[in-house]
């Protein structure tokens, strides 16, 4: 699903065309953006959060994911059965940080509920 591209110039322009990304990692200092998707659920549109890269997994789930997802009364934090990133299952330890887990800036974390 992902594709990588080289650095070749593809834009047809009158002059040099080299501009930075508007939401690059460095603009967020020691934080980054993380997206969260509830798999097989279309009630909540996927969300975007700014979090410190030093935030631990347990802080992330309890402070970010739970409050957001629990607006849907069917959400139960205890029933979250599986997390994945770009189709690969992940099993972070509670003390692991977002950086240690390897979530990229603007990466997408997907969870499933039993």
């Amino acid at each position: 699903m992902a594709s990588k591209r080289g650095d070749g110039m593809t834009i047809k322009a009158l002059g040099p065309y080299d501009f930075p990304a508007a939401d690059r990692q460095e603009n967020f200092g020691s934080d980054q953006l993380v997206h969260v998707v509830w798999q097989n659920n279309i009630f909540l549109v996927p969300a975007c959060f700014r979090v410190p890269r030093s935030m631990t997994w347990s802080e992330f789930t309890s402070q970010i994911v739970d409050p957001w997802a629990s607006v849907d009364l069917e959400y139960d934090a205890d029933l979250v059965s599986e997390w994945s990133m770009d189709g690969e299952p992940i099993t972070p330890r509670p003390k692991q940080t977002i950086r240690e887990i390897g979530v990229p800036h603007k990466g997408v974390l997907v969870f499933a509920v039993q």
Binding site: M1, K12, A13, A22, L44, C48, L73
Partner: protein, 495 residues
């Protein structure tokens, strides 16, 4: 008239002697389009300045007479319901600023195209677009006296999150070269997709008792048919000029079909949900205007030039069964941060949606509103507290699904220079991958809010920065507009 038109265009053109043609018209070569003979341009309409002014003056006179009498007679009370005005707010915030941008860019083309006939056509369209922006503002300004959400539309258009969808679409065209802009706006927007944009709004106005907007629509109609003619002439002219132009044009048609189609997601939502009296469903409009008129009518003609139907059109055809629902459900949960209100469709409208969309509505979307109704009854109307994930290209929240899997949101991404970019569909990903250098610059509202560039960290601060006032958004049933509407009608204000 024909002779005077010749004098006006060819007659006043000249060959530069102090500078080269390339210096005089510096922007018409870098895109790779080759025009071998500008004289071959068939002028799609032959108007002179005095004739143009005479027609437009007549139309303005008629329009403003209607607007005056409508305003004096409190015509707004004849609308089907105050909820209808949400459709107009979306038009004023999302479409009117595009008319103004079109005015500016056609003025630029009126200077920079090499051929005098093409320059004059662009000049006329530039003046038309300015007139449209003005007459739309005048037609809708009367509603600003009585309803929320009509104030500050230029500021809101620049700053409010979902309005970055139309704004970035047009900015993409403005920042392209002149031939791509004409393919994007004259052909894709004004010809290929125009009926899907204007008919729902203007017929919606007519069905819902909005004489002011309907009159604007009539007044703009003859201009629009000129713009459509220009759109078709532009594409045929470029294709005929050089075989090398064909693959470039095909790429642009592919890109601007999908860009325009995604933008129409807002119209689809308006058409199926905002209009209390329905005109036709989005699906019916799509079948008539896109499948029958364009895919069956136009594209067989273009095949002669080597042009095939746009890439990703099959996905759009599949999506006619559900796109409006996906966009409206997104707006339903985010209307606390919008400049229009939303509500669960009344029972008879839910039934209409079930009838119109028998294969999808009851299975996927009606249950969402049932759930929202339970939440509302328990005192907590459903609003999403987090900011939505946005597509890097169309900038719409990532609420679309893959064909054949409506229960799960589509996720696509690309990597460029070590960073990741998320897109909502194969169409948007394809557009990103063609020109990543362009789309990495996208001013995605959610990312900008989270960078602290939009007035503050809380939703109220961001909304104030965007120009939103209390009452502009949220739930319709408890809005000031709904309350006023009930009071005006109960007290027998209507004749």
């Amino acid at each position: 008239m024909r002779e005077r038109y010749q004098q006006l265009t060819r007659g006043v053109d000249w060959t530069p002697s102090y500078v080269s043609r390339e210096q005089m018209y510096p922007y018409t070569r870098f895109e790779g389009i080759k025009i071998n003979d500008w004289e071959a341009w068939e002028d799609p309409f032959r108007l002179t300045v005095d004739a143009y002014c005479k027609y437009q003056t007549e139309k303005d006179k008629r329009l403003y007479a209607v607007l005056d009498s409508f305003a004096q007679g409190q015509g707004h009370l004849q609308a089907s319901d105050a909820r209808y005005f949400n459709a107009l707010r979306l038009f004023l915030q999302g479409v009117t600023p595009l008319e103004y941008q079109a005015h500016r860019h056609f003025a630029y083309l009126a200077r920079h195209l090499d051929g005098p006939g093409a320059r004059f056509a662009c000049l006329s369209q530039s003046i038309d677009e300015l007139r449209h922006a003005q007459t739309e503002i005048h037609a809708m300004s009367m509603y600003n006296k009585y309803y929320d959400g009509f104030h500050s539309f230029p500021r809101i258009s620049d700053r409010l999150w979902y309005l970055s969808v139309p704004k970035s679409y047009f900015d993409d065209g403005l920042s392209s070269g002149p031939f791509e802009f004409m393919t994007a706006i004259s052909f894709s927007f004004e010809y290929f997709l125009t009926n899907l944009l204007f008919v729902p709004f203007m017929s919606g106005a007519s069905f819902n008792g909005d004489l002011a907007t309907m009159s604007f629509g009539f007044s703009a109609q003859s201009d629009e048919s000129r713009h459509m003619t220009l759109g078709l002439e532009v594409i045929k002219f470029i294709l005929q000029q050089d075989e090398g132009n064909v693959p470039i044009m095909q790429d642009w048609i592919d890109k601007w079909f999908w860009r325009g189609y995604r933008l129409l997601g807002l119209v689809a939502c308006m058409q199926d949900y905002f209009l209390p009296r329905k005109v036709m469903s989005w699906k019916e409009a799509f079948e008539l205007y896109l499948e029958q008129q364009m895919l069956d009518g136009l594209f067989p003609d273009l095949e002669y030039y080597g042009i095939r139907p746009p890439r990703h059109v099959d996905q759009a055809i599949a999506e006619k069964e559900y796109m409006s629902h996906q966009v409206h459900w997104t707006f339903y949960q985010y209307s606390h941060a919008a400049s229009f209100t939303t509500t669960i469709p009344p029972e008879e409208e839910l039934d209409w949606l079930s009838e119109q969309y028998p294969d999808t509505f009851d299975q996927y979307y009606r249950p969402l509103y049932d759930k929202a109704a339970v939440m509302e009854a328990s005192g907590s109307r459903f609003f999403n507290s987090a900011l939505p994930m946005l597509c890097q290209v169309c900038q719409i929240p990532m609420a679309f699904t893959d064909v054949g899997n409506l229960g799960s949101f589509t996720q696509r991404f690309s990597e460029f220079r070590g960073e990741r970019y998320n897109t909502c569909s194969d169409g948007c990903k394809w557009i990103f991958d063609r020109e990543p250098e362009k789309y990495i610059q996208a001013w995605l509202p959610v990312h900008q809010i989270l960078q602290g560039n939009c007035g503050g960290a809380t939703i109220p601060e961001v909304l104030e920065w965007a120009g939103i006032q209390p009452g502009d958004g949220g739930e319709y049933k408890t809005s000031t507009d709904a309350e006023n509407w009930r009071a005006w009608h109960q007290n027998g204000v209507t004749a």
